[in-house]
Protein backbone atom coordinates (compact mmCIF):
# COMPACT_ATOMS: atom_id res chain seq x y z
CA UNK A 1 0.00 0.00 0.00
CA UNK A 2 2.77 2.41 0.98
CA UNK A 3 4.65 1.44 -2.15
CA UNK A 4 1.64 2.29 -4.30
CA UNK A 5 1.19 5.62 -2.52
CA UNK A 6 4.82 6.56 -3.18
CA UNK A 7 4.43 5.35 -6.80
CA UNK A 8 1.33 7.48 -7.25
CA UNK A 9 3.11 10.52 -5.85
CA UNK A 10 6.11 9.92 -8.08
CA UNK A 11 3.83 9.71 -11.11
CA UNK A 12 2.12 12.98 -10.14
CA UNK A 13 5.53 14.57 -9.63
CA UNK A 14 6.60 13.47 -13.13
CA UNK A 15 3.42 14.92 -14.63
CA UNK A 16 4.02 18.14 -12.68
CA UNK A 17 7.56 18.24 -14.03
CA UNK A 18 6.04 18.20 -17.55
CA UNK A 19 7.73 14.93 -18.51
CA UNK A 20 4.77 13.99 -20.68
CA UNK A 21 5.33 17.09 -22.82
CA UNK A 22 7.57 14.90 -24.99
CA UNK A 23 4.31 13.44 -26.28
CA UNK A 24 3.55 16.71 -28.04
CA UNK A 25 6.88 16.51 -29.85
CA UNK A 26 6.19 12.88 -30.71
CA UNK A 27 2.72 13.79 -31.96
CA UNK A 28 4.05 16.52 -34.22
CA UNK A 29 6.76 14.20 -35.56
CA UNK A 30 4.37 11.36 -36.35
CA UNK A 31 1.73 13.64 -37.93
CA UNK A 32 4.24 15.47 -40.11
CA UNK A 33 5.85 12.15 -41.11
CA UNK A 34 2.48 10.68 -42.07
CA UNK A 35 1.73 13.70 -44.22
CA UNK A 36 5.03 14.01 -46.04
CA UNK A 37 6.53 10.50 -46.16
CA UNK A 38 4.12 9.35 -48.86
CA UNK A 39 5.53 11.90 -51.25
CA UNK A 40 9.23 11.34 -50.53
CA UNK A 41 9.52 7.57 -50.33
CA UNK A 42 8.78 4.54 -52.49
CA UNK A 43 7.28 1.43 -50.96
CA UNK A 44 5.39 0.76 -47.76
CA UNK A 45 5.04 4.05 -45.87
CA UNK A 46 3.54 2.33 -42.83
CA UNK A 47 6.77 0.42 -42.41
CA UNK A 48 8.63 3.74 -42.09
CA UNK A 49 6.00 5.03 -39.68
CA UNK A 50 6.36 1.94 -37.46
CA UNK A 51 10.15 2.21 -37.56
CA UNK A 52 10.08 5.91 -36.82
CA UNK A 53 7.39 5.64 -34.16
CA UNK A 54 8.95 2.75 -32.21
CA UNK A 55 12.46 4.21 -32.50
CA UNK A 56 11.30 7.62 -31.25
CA UNK A 57 9.44 5.87 -28.46
CA UNK A 58 12.64 4.06 -27.46
CA UNK A 59 14.82 7.18 -27.65
CA UNK A 60 12.41 9.37 -25.64
CA UNK A 61 11.73 6.55 -23.22
CA UNK A 62 15.43 5.88 -22.65
CA UNK A 63 16.16 9.56 -22.09
CA UNK A 64 13.31 9.81 -19.56
CA UNK A 65 14.35 6.54 -17.88
CA UNK A 66 17.95 7.69 -17.49
CA UNK A 67 17.53 11.36 -16.63
CA UNK A 68 14.49 11.00 -14.38
CA UNK A 69 15.68 7.65 -12.99
CA UNK A 70 18.91 9.14 -11.66
CA UNK A 71 17.01 12.01 -10.00
CA UNK A 72 14.43 9.85 -8.22
CA UNK A 73 16.48 9.12 -5.12
CA UNK A 74 19.02 11.92 -5.34
CA UNK A 75 16.38 14.69 -5.41
CA UNK A 76 14.79 13.41 -2.20
CA UNK A 77 18.17 13.33 -0.47
CA UNK A 78 19.16 16.74 -1.85
CA UNK A 79 15.91 18.40 -0.79
CA UNK A 80 16.09 16.51 2.52
CA UNK A 81 12.50 15.29 2.05
CA UNK A 82 13.76 11.72 2.42
CA UNK A 83 14.53 12.26 6.11
CA UNK A 84 10.97 13.22 6.95
CA UNK A 85 9.68 10.33 4.88
CA UNK A 86 11.92 7.74 6.50
CA UNK A 87 11.04 9.11 9.94
CA UNK A 88 7.53 7.78 9.29
CA UNK A 89 6.86 4.03 9.30
CA UNK A 90 8.15 3.61 5.74
CA UNK A 91 10.85 1.08 4.97
CA UNK A 92 13.70 2.05 2.71
CA UNK A 93 12.83 -0.70 0.26
CA UNK A 94 9.23 0.58 0.10
CA UNK A 95 10.52 4.03 -0.78
CA UNK A 96 12.79 2.66 -3.51
CA UNK A 97 10.16 0.35 -5.02
CA UNK A 98 7.54 3.12 -4.90
CA UNK A 99 9.85 5.49 -6.76
CA UNK A 100 10.64 2.79 -9.32
CA UNK A 101 6.98 1.93 -9.95
CA UNK A 102 6.04 5.63 -10.19
CA UNK A 103 8.46 6.19 -13.03
CA UNK A 104 7.43 2.93 -14.72
CA UNK A 105 3.84 4.12 -14.59
CA UNK A 106 4.89 7.41 -16.23
CA UNK A 107 6.74 5.50 -18.95
CA UNK A 108 3.80 3.13 -19.45
CA UNK A 109 1.44 6.07 -20.01
CA UNK A 110 3.98 7.64 -22.35
CA UNK A 111 4.34 4.44 -24.37
CA UNK A 112 0.58 3.77 -24.44
CA UNK A 113 -0.09 7.23 -25.91
CA UNK A 114 2.74 6.86 -28.42
CA UNK A 115 1.55 3.42 -29.56
CA UNK A 116 -1.93 4.88 -29.98
CA UNK A 117 -0.34 7.65 -32.06
CA UNK A 118 1.34 5.06 -34.30
CA UNK A 119 -1.97 3.22 -34.74
CA UNK A 120 -3.73 6.49 -35.58
CA UNK A 121 -1.07 7.32 -38.12
CA UNK A 122 -1.34 3.87 -39.73
CA UNK A 123 -5.11 4.21 -39.85
CA UNK A 124 -4.74 7.60 -41.55
CA UNK A 125 -2.41 6.12 -44.18
CA UNK A 126 -4.08 2.74 -44.74
CA UNK A 127 -7.66 3.48 -43.68
CA UNK A 128 -7.63 0.19 -41.80
CA UNK A 129 -5.86 -1.65 -38.99
CA UNK A 130 -4.81 -5.26 -39.60
CA UNK A 131 -4.77 -7.98 -36.97
CA UNK A 132 -1.00 -8.31 -37.50
CA UNK A 133 -0.63 -4.72 -36.24
CA UNK A 134 -1.00 -6.12 -32.74
CA UNK A 135 2.78 -6.67 -33.04
CA UNK A 136 3.23 -2.92 -32.55
CA UNK A 137 1.52 -3.18 -29.18
CA UNK A 138 3.62 -6.22 -28.25
CA UNK A 139 6.76 -4.33 -29.32
CA UNK A 140 5.64 -1.42 -27.12
CA UNK A 141 5.32 -3.77 -24.15
CA UNK A 142 8.79 -5.19 -24.74
CA UNK A 143 10.20 -1.66 -25.01
CA UNK A 144 8.55 -0.84 -21.65
CA UNK A 145 10.25 -3.95 -20.27
CA UNK A 146 13.57 -2.68 -21.61
CA UNK A 147 12.98 0.76 -20.08
CA UNK A 148 12.16 -0.92 -16.77
CA UNK A 149 15.66 -2.37 -16.82
CA UNK A 150 17.15 1.05 -17.67
CA UNK A 151 15.27 2.66 -14.75
CA UNK A 152 16.46 -0.08 -12.39
CA UNK A 153 20.07 0.52 -13.49
CA UNK A 154 19.65 4.29 -13.09
CA UNK A 155 18.25 3.82 -9.58
CA UNK A 156 21.10 1.48 -8.66
CA UNK A 157 23.76 4.00 -9.68
CA UNK A 158 21.91 6.94 -8.17
CA UNK A 159 21.72 5.11 -4.83
CA UNK A 160 25.46 5.56 -4.34
CA UNK A 161 26.67 8.12 -6.89
CA UNK A 162 26.08 11.68 -8.09
CA UNK A 163 23.47 12.37 -10.81
CA UNK A 164 26.09 13.24 -13.45
CA UNK A 165 28.08 10.07 -12.85
CA UNK A 166 24.92 7.98 -12.56
CA UNK A 167 23.75 9.23 -15.96
CA UNK A 168 27.14 8.45 -17.44
CA UNK A 169 27.28 4.95 -15.92
CA UNK A 170 23.70 4.14 -16.92
CA UNK A 171 24.21 5.33 -20.45
CA UNK A 172 27.50 3.41 -20.71
CA UNK A 173 25.87 0.20 -19.47
CA UNK A 174 22.97 0.74 -21.88
CA UNK A 175 25.42 1.12 -24.79
CA UNK A 176 27.53 -1.88 -23.69
CA UNK A 177 24.34 -3.93 -23.34
CA UNK A 178 23.66 -3.41 -27.03
CA UNK A 179 27.10 -4.82 -27.92
CA UNK A 180 26.80 -7.74 -25.51
CA UNK A 181 26.59 -10.36 -28.26
CA UNK A 182 29.85 -9.07 -29.73
CA UNK A 183 31.57 -9.76 -26.40
CA UNK A 184 30.55 -13.41 -26.67
CA UNK A 185 31.53 -13.65 -30.34
CA UNK A 186 34.90 -12.10 -29.50
CA UNK A 187 35.42 -14.70 -26.77
CA UNK A 188 34.38 -17.61 -28.97
CA UNK A 189 36.96 -16.69 -31.61
CA UNK A 190 39.75 -16.36 -29.07
CA UNK A 191 42.24 -19.16 -28.48
CA UNK A 192 42.86 -18.09 -24.90
CA UNK A 193 40.88 -19.92 -22.23
CA UNK A 194 40.99 -16.87 -19.98
CA UNK A 195 39.54 -14.59 -22.68
CA UNK A 196 36.85 -17.16 -23.48
CA UNK A 197 35.88 -17.55 -19.81
CA UNK A 198 35.96 -13.81 -19.16
CA UNK A 199 33.83 -13.00 -22.19
CA UNK A 200 31.29 -15.68 -21.20
CA UNK A 201 31.17 -14.27 -17.69
CA UNK A 202 30.67 -10.71 -18.93
CA UNK A 203 28.07 -11.87 -21.44
CA UNK A 204 25.84 -13.23 -18.70
CA UNK A 205 26.69 -10.57 -16.14
CA UNK A 206 25.95 -7.51 -18.26
CA UNK A 207 22.38 -6.74 -19.34
CA UNK A 208 21.68 -7.89 -22.88
CA UNK A 209 19.65 -5.11 -24.49
CA UNK A 210 19.83 -6.97 -27.79
CA UNK A 211 17.04 -9.19 -26.43
CA UNK A 212 14.62 -6.26 -26.79
CA UNK A 213 15.67 -5.31 -30.29
CA UNK A 214 12.55 -6.03 -32.35
CA UNK A 215 11.69 -2.72 -34.00
CA UNK A 216 12.77 -3.53 -37.56
CA UNK A 217 11.17 -7.00 -37.43
CA UNK A 218 7.90 -5.41 -36.30
CA UNK A 219 8.10 -2.84 -39.09
CA UNK A 220 8.58 -5.60 -41.66
CA UNK A 221 5.34 -7.21 -40.51
CA UNK A 222 7.04 -10.22 -38.97
CA UNK A 223 7.67 -10.93 -35.33
CA UNK A 224 10.01 -12.94 -33.19
CA UNK A 225 8.89 -16.41 -32.09
CA UNK A 226 6.39 -16.22 -29.23
CA UNK A 227 8.63 -18.16 -26.84
CA UNK A 228 11.59 -15.83 -27.57
CA UNK A 229 9.26 -12.88 -26.88
CA UNK A 230 8.15 -14.42 -23.61
CA UNK A 231 11.68 -15.26 -22.50
CA UNK A 232 12.84 -11.75 -23.38
CA UNK A 233 9.97 -10.28 -21.39
CA UNK A 234 10.82 -12.50 -18.42
CA UNK A 235 14.51 -11.67 -18.80
CA UNK A 236 13.75 -7.96 -18.50
CA UNK A 237 11.52 -8.47 -15.47
CA UNK A 238 13.88 -10.78 -13.59
CA UNK A 239 16.99 -8.74 -14.43
CA UNK A 240 15.21 -5.57 -13.25
CA UNK A 241 14.22 -7.37 -10.04
CA UNK A 242 17.82 -8.46 -9.62
CA UNK A 243 19.13 -4.91 -9.99
CA UNK A 244 16.43 -3.54 -7.69
CA UNK A 245 17.34 -6.09 -5.01
CA UNK A 246 20.95 -4.99 -5.27
CA UNK A 247 19.88 -1.32 -5.09
CA UNK A 248 17.83 -2.08 -1.96
CA UNK A 249 20.83 -3.80 -0.43
CA UNK A 250 22.98 -0.71 -1.11
CA UNK A 251 20.23 1.68 0.01
CA UNK A 252 19.61 -0.26 3.23
CA UNK A 253 23.24 0.14 4.19
CA UNK A 254 23.53 3.79 3.15
CA UNK A 255 24.31 6.20 5.97
CA UNK A 256 22.36 9.45 5.55
CA UNK A 257 24.07 11.31 8.40
Amino acid sequence: MKILLIAHNTFRECVRDKILYNLVLFGVLIIVSSLILGSITIGDVTQVIINLGLSTLTVFGTLIAIFIGIQLVYKEIDKKTLYSLLAKPVHRYEFLLGKFLGLILTLAVNIAVMVLGIFASIFYLRHSIHSSDIHILLAGILILDELMLVVAIAILFSSFSTPALSALFTFALYAIGHFNTDIRVYGSTSMSFLTKALSQFLYYLLPNFGNFDIISQTAHGGFIASEVYLYSLLYGLVYSACILLFSILVFQRKNFK
Partner: protein, 297 residues
Protein backbone atom coordinates in the same frame (compact mmCIF):
# COMPACT_ATOMS: atom_id res chain seq x y z
CA UNK B 1 21.32 0.10 13.55
CA UNK B 2 22.72 -2.93 15.36
CA UNK B 3 22.72 -5.83 12.90
CA UNK B 4 23.14 -9.02 14.89
CA UNK B 5 22.42 -12.39 13.34
CA UNK B 6 18.99 -12.46 14.99
CA UNK B 7 17.91 -8.88 14.18
CA UNK B 8 15.09 -8.32 11.64
CA UNK B 9 17.31 -5.98 9.55
CA UNK B 10 19.91 -8.72 9.25
CA UNK B 11 17.27 -11.23 8.23
CA UNK B 12 15.87 -8.84 5.59
CA UNK B 13 19.33 -8.27 4.15
CA UNK B 14 19.94 -12.01 3.97
CA UNK B 15 16.63 -12.56 2.23
CA UNK B 16 17.45 -9.82 -0.26
CA UNK B 17 20.86 -11.38 -0.84
CA UNK B 18 19.35 -14.82 -1.44
CA UNK B 19 16.76 -13.28 -3.77
CA UNK B 20 19.59 -11.60 -5.64
CA UNK B 21 21.50 -14.86 -6.09
CA UNK B 22 18.35 -16.71 -7.18
CA UNK B 23 17.27 -14.01 -9.67
CA UNK B 24 20.83 -13.90 -11.11
CA UNK B 25 20.64 -17.62 -11.81
CA UNK B 26 17.22 -17.17 -13.44
CA UNK B 27 18.65 -14.37 -15.63
CA UNK B 28 21.47 -16.61 -16.86
CA UNK B 29 19.02 -19.45 -17.52
CA UNK B 30 16.66 -17.15 -19.46
CA UNK B 31 19.51 -15.75 -21.55
CA UNK B 32 20.55 -19.30 -22.45
CA UNK B 33 16.96 -20.12 -23.45
CA UNK B 34 16.78 -16.97 -25.61
CA UNK B 35 20.11 -17.78 -27.27
CA UNK B 36 19.02 -21.34 -27.98
CA UNK B 37 15.64 -20.31 -29.42
CA UNK B 38 17.15 -17.42 -31.40
CA UNK B 39 19.58 -19.82 -33.08
CA UNK B 40 16.64 -21.99 -34.13
CA UNK B 41 14.52 -19.15 -35.47
CA UNK B 42 17.01 -16.79 -36.99
CA UNK B 43 19.20 -17.16 -40.05
CA UNK B 44 22.85 -16.29 -39.75
CA UNK B 45 23.12 -12.54 -39.86
CA UNK B 46 25.90 -11.10 -41.95
CA UNK B 47 25.43 -7.42 -42.46
CA UNK B 48 27.39 -4.23 -42.48
CA UNK B 49 25.03 -1.39 -41.65
CA UNK B 50 27.23 1.52 -42.69
CA UNK B 51 29.32 0.63 -45.71
CA UNK B 52 30.86 4.01 -46.45
CA UNK B 53 34.08 4.83 -44.66
CA UNK B 54 33.68 8.47 -45.68
CA UNK B 55 30.27 8.70 -43.99
CA UNK B 56 31.68 7.04 -40.87
CA UNK B 57 34.58 9.48 -40.86
CA UNK B 58 32.12 12.38 -40.72
CA UNK B 59 30.05 10.65 -38.05
CA UNK B 60 33.11 9.93 -35.92
CA UNK B 61 33.46 13.67 -35.11
CA UNK B 62 37.25 13.53 -35.22
CA UNK B 63 37.58 10.16 -33.51
CA UNK B 64 38.26 8.42 -36.82
CA UNK B 65 41.53 6.91 -35.54
CA UNK B 66 39.72 5.05 -32.78
CA UNK B 67 36.92 4.04 -35.12
CA UNK B 68 39.50 2.75 -37.63
CA UNK B 69 41.02 0.59 -34.88
CA UNK B 70 37.57 -0.73 -33.99
CA UNK B 71 36.81 -1.59 -37.63
CA UNK B 72 40.18 -3.24 -38.01
CA UNK B 73 39.49 -5.34 -34.92
CA UNK B 74 36.09 -6.22 -36.39
CA UNK B 75 37.81 -7.30 -39.61
CA UNK B 76 40.25 -9.51 -37.67
CA UNK B 77 37.44 -11.01 -35.57
CA UNK B 78 35.33 -11.58 -38.68
CA UNK B 79 38.20 -13.31 -40.46
CA UNK B 80 38.99 -15.44 -37.39
CA UNK B 81 35.32 -16.24 -36.84
CA UNK B 82 34.76 -17.36 -40.44
CA UNK B 83 37.85 -19.56 -40.29
CA UNK B 84 36.84 -21.15 -37.00
CA UNK B 85 33.38 -21.91 -38.37
CA UNK B 86 34.92 -23.43 -41.52
CA UNK B 87 33.22 -20.81 -43.71
CA UNK B 88 34.67 -20.39 -47.18
CA UNK B 89 33.05 -17.01 -47.85
CA UNK B 90 34.57 -13.82 -46.51
CA UNK B 91 32.07 -11.35 -47.98
CA UNK B 92 32.47 -8.65 -45.34
CA UNK B 93 36.26 -8.82 -45.14
CA UNK B 94 37.10 -6.37 -47.91
CA UNK B 95 34.43 -3.78 -46.94
CA UNK B 96 35.56 -3.90 -43.30
CA UNK B 97 39.22 -3.40 -44.22
CA UNK B 98 38.33 -0.63 -46.67
CA UNK B 99 36.33 1.20 -43.99
CA UNK B 100 39.25 0.88 -41.54
CA UNK B 101 41.74 2.25 -44.07
CA UNK B 102 39.40 5.05 -45.23
CA UNK B 103 38.97 6.11 -41.61
CA UNK B 104 42.73 6.02 -41.10
CA UNK B 105 44.71 5.94 -44.38
CA UNK B 106 47.94 5.45 -42.41
CA UNK B 107 46.79 2.26 -40.71
CA UNK B 108 49.65 0.21 -42.16
CA UNK B 109 48.85 -3.10 -40.49
CA UNK B 110 45.33 -3.01 -41.96
CA UNK B 111 46.81 -2.83 -45.48
CA UNK B 112 49.50 -5.39 -44.80
CA UNK B 113 47.62 -8.10 -42.91
CA UNK B 114 44.39 -7.32 -44.71
CA UNK B 115 46.20 -8.18 -47.96
CA UNK B 116 47.27 -11.54 -46.51
CA UNK B 117 43.71 -12.36 -45.37
CA UNK B 118 42.35 -11.42 -48.79
CA UNK B 119 45.02 -13.20 -50.85
CA UNK B 120 45.37 -16.57 -49.13
CA UNK B 121 43.62 -19.41 -50.88
CA UNK B 122 40.47 -21.00 -49.46
CA UNK B 123 39.88 -22.14 -46.78
CA UNK B 124 42.67 -20.07 -45.21
CA UNK B 125 41.72 -16.78 -46.83
CA UNK B 126 39.26 -15.08 -49.14
CA UNK B 127 41.15 -16.07 -52.32
CA UNK B 128 40.83 -12.53 -53.68
CA UNK B 129 44.44 -11.51 -54.55
CA UNK B 130 43.21 -8.89 -57.01
CA UNK B 131 41.39 -7.11 -54.19
CA UNK B 132 44.54 -7.40 -52.10
CA UNK B 133 46.52 -5.56 -54.81
CA UNK B 134 43.85 -2.82 -54.89
CA UNK B 135 44.12 -2.49 -51.12
CA UNK B 136 47.92 -2.30 -51.19
CA UNK B 137 47.95 0.17 -54.11
CA UNK B 138 45.57 2.33 -52.09
CA UNK B 139 47.97 2.03 -49.16
CA UNK B 140 50.89 3.07 -51.36
CA UNK B 141 48.92 6.10 -52.63
CA UNK B 142 48.50 7.28 -49.04
CA UNK B 143 51.93 6.15 -47.80
CA UNK B 144 54.21 6.45 -50.85
CA UNK B 145 57.45 6.18 -48.84
CA UNK B 146 56.54 2.93 -47.06
CA UNK B 147 58.72 0.19 -48.59
CA UNK B 148 56.89 -2.60 -46.75
CA UNK B 149 53.74 -1.94 -48.78
CA UNK B 150 55.77 -2.37 -52.00
CA UNK B 151 57.22 -5.58 -50.61
CA UNK B 152 53.74 -6.90 -49.84
CA UNK B 153 52.35 -5.83 -53.20
CA UNK B 154 55.26 -7.47 -55.02
CA UNK B 155 54.67 -10.56 -52.94
CA UNK B 156 50.98 -10.76 -53.92
CA UNK B 157 51.89 -10.36 -57.60
CA UNK B 158 54.55 -13.01 -57.30
CA UNK B 159 52.98 -15.68 -55.09
CA UNK B 160 49.26 -15.41 -55.67
CA UNK B 161 48.90 -13.89 -59.16
CA UNK B 162 52.11 -15.34 -60.69
CA UNK B 163 52.68 -12.04 -62.47
CA UNK B 164 56.49 -12.05 -62.24
CA UNK B 165 57.07 -8.94 -64.36
CA UNK B 166 54.80 -6.79 -62.20
CA UNK B 167 56.26 -8.36 -59.06
CA UNK B 168 59.80 -7.50 -60.20
CA UNK B 169 58.77 -3.92 -61.07
CA UNK B 170 57.13 -3.49 -57.66
CA UNK B 171 60.12 -4.89 -55.75
CA UNK B 172 62.42 -2.64 -57.76
CA UNK B 173 60.26 0.42 -57.07
CA UNK B 174 60.11 -0.45 -53.38
CA UNK B 175 63.88 -0.89 -53.17
CA UNK B 176 64.26 2.85 -53.87
CA UNK B 177 62.23 3.83 -50.78
CA UNK B 178 63.81 4.82 -47.46
CA UNK B 179 64.91 1.91 -45.22
CA UNK B 180 64.19 -0.68 -47.96
CA UNK B 181 66.13 -3.93 -47.51
CA UNK B 182 68.92 -4.58 -50.06
CA UNK B 183 67.46 -7.99 -51.02
CA UNK B 184 64.53 -6.24 -52.74
CA UNK B 185 66.72 -5.18 -55.66
CA UNK B 186 68.44 -8.59 -55.84
CA UNK B 187 65.14 -10.39 -55.75
CA UNK B 188 63.72 -8.20 -58.53
CA UNK B 189 66.68 -9.20 -60.69
CA UNK B 190 66.22 -12.89 -59.75
CA UNK B 191 62.57 -12.71 -60.74
CA UNK B 192 63.29 -11.07 -64.07
CA UNK B 193 65.92 -13.71 -64.81
CA UNK B 194 64.24 -16.87 -63.54
CA UNK B 195 60.51 -16.08 -63.17
CA UNK B 196 58.65 -18.10 -60.59
CA UNK B 197 61.40 -20.43 -59.36
CA UNK B 198 60.92 -22.25 -56.09
CA UNK B 199 64.23 -20.88 -54.85
CA UNK B 200 62.88 -17.36 -55.20
CA UNK B 201 59.71 -18.34 -53.36
CA UNK B 202 61.72 -19.84 -50.51
CA UNK B 203 63.74 -16.67 -50.26
CA UNK B 204 60.60 -14.57 -49.95
CA UNK B 205 58.84 -16.79 -47.41
CA UNK B 206 62.04 -17.08 -45.35
CA UNK B 207 62.24 -13.31 -45.26
CA UNK B 208 58.56 -13.13 -44.27
CA UNK B 209 59.13 -15.74 -41.55
CA UNK B 210 62.15 -14.01 -40.09
CA UNK B 211 60.65 -10.53 -40.07
CA UNK B 212 57.12 -11.44 -38.92
CA UNK B 213 56.20 -9.96 -35.56
CA UNK B 214 52.73 -11.48 -35.32
CA UNK B 215 52.47 -15.19 -34.51
CA UNK B 216 49.72 -15.92 -37.08
CA UNK B 217 51.74 -14.30 -39.87
CA UNK B 218 54.86 -16.21 -38.80
CA UNK B 219 52.85 -19.43 -38.73
CA UNK B 220 51.49 -18.74 -42.21
CA UNK B 221 55.04 -18.22 -43.54
CA UNK B 222 56.19 -21.42 -41.81
CA UNK B 223 53.35 -23.41 -43.37
CA UNK B 224 54.29 -22.14 -46.81
CA UNK B 225 57.97 -22.92 -46.22
CA UNK B 226 57.03 -26.48 -45.20
CA UNK B 227 54.89 -26.78 -48.34
CA UNK B 228 57.86 -25.70 -50.46
CA UNK B 229 60.14 -28.14 -48.62
CA UNK B 230 57.66 -30.94 -49.38
CA UNK B 231 57.72 -29.94 -53.06
CA UNK B 232 61.55 -30.19 -52.97
CA UNK B 233 61.27 -33.68 -51.41
CA UNK B 234 58.76 -34.79 -54.04
CA UNK B 235 61.03 -33.61 -56.88
CA UNK B 236 63.98 -35.42 -55.30
CA UNK B 237 61.98 -38.64 -54.89
CA UNK B 238 60.63 -38.35 -58.42
CA UNK B 239 64.16 -38.11 -59.84
CA UNK B 240 65.28 -41.05 -57.72
CA UNK B 241 62.36 -43.20 -58.91
CA UNK B 242 63.10 -42.37 -62.57
CA UNK B 243 66.73 -43.36 -62.07
CA UNK B 244 65.86 -46.64 -60.30
CA UNK B 245 63.18 -47.51 -62.86
CA UNK B 246 65.69 -46.98 -65.68
CA UNK B 247 68.19 -49.29 -63.94
CA UNK B 248 65.59 -51.96 -63.09
CA UNK B 249 63.75 -51.72 -66.38
CA UNK B 250 60.31 -51.87 -64.70
CA UNK B 251 58.04 -49.38 -62.93
CA UNK B 252 57.94 -49.21 -59.12
CA UNK B 253 54.61 -49.83 -57.39
CA UNK B 254 55.39 -48.15 -54.07
CA UNK B 255 58.03 -46.11 -52.29
CA UNK B 256 58.60 -49.07 -49.95
CA UNK B 257 60.52 -50.72 -52.81
CA UNK B 258 63.15 -47.95 -52.60
CA UNK B 259 63.74 -49.00 -48.98
CA UNK B 260 63.74 -52.71 -49.85
CA UNK B 261 66.43 -52.35 -52.52
CA UNK B 262 68.50 -50.16 -50.19
CA UNK B 263 68.27 -46.85 -52.11
CA UNK B 264 66.61 -45.28 -49.04
CA UNK B 265 67.34 -46.39 -45.48
CA UNK B 266 63.77 -45.57 -44.26
CA UNK B 267 60.33 -44.75 -45.69
CA UNK B 268 60.26 -41.09 -46.80
CA UNK B 269 58.07 -38.76 -44.69
CA UNK B 270 56.92 -35.20 -45.39
CA UNK B 271 57.94 -32.31 -43.04
CA UNK B 272 54.90 -33.03 -40.86
CA UNK B 273 55.66 -36.74 -40.55
CA UNK B 274 53.13 -38.15 -43.04
CA UNK B 275 54.16 -40.72 -45.65
CA UNK B 276 54.73 -39.67 -49.24
CA UNK B 277 52.82 -41.91 -51.65
CA UNK B 278 53.62 -43.18 -55.12
CA UNK B 279 50.56 -43.15 -57.35
CA UNK B 280 51.01 -46.35 -59.43
CA UNK B 281 48.67 -45.18 -62.19
CA UNK B 282 50.48 -41.88 -62.85
CA UNK B 283 53.90 -42.83 -61.51
CA UNK B 284 53.96 -39.52 -59.60
CA UNK B 285 54.94 -38.99 -55.94
CA UNK B 286 52.19 -37.26 -53.95
CA UNK B 287 51.42 -36.04 -50.47
CA UNK B 288 49.31 -38.40 -48.40
CA UNK B 289 45.62 -37.35 -48.35
CA UNK B 290 45.91 -37.21 -44.53
CA UNK B 291 48.93 -34.94 -44.65
CA UNK B 292 48.52 -31.54 -42.98
CA UNK B 293 50.99 -29.97 -45.43
CA UNK B 294 49.45 -27.05 -47.31
CA UNK B 295 48.89 -27.79 -51.00
CA UNK B 296 50.69 -25.47 -53.42
CA UNK B 297 49.52 -24.91 -57.02
Amino acid sequence: MNKTAASPAFRVEWMIFLGLVFSSLVVVHLQRMIDRRMREHMSKEEALYVTSGKVLKKLSLGNNGLLADIYWMRAVQYYGGQRLQGEKRFDLLEPLINIATTLDPNLLHAYRFGAIFLSEREPIGANQPQKATDLLKNGIDHNPQEWLLYKDLGFVYYWYLHDYTKAAETFLEGSKKPNARPWMRTFAAELLARGGSRKAAELLWKEAYETATISQVKENARENLLALAAQDDIDLLQNLIMKVQRQMGKPLSSLQELVQIGVLNRYPLDPKGYRYLLNPSTGMVELSPESAIRRVD
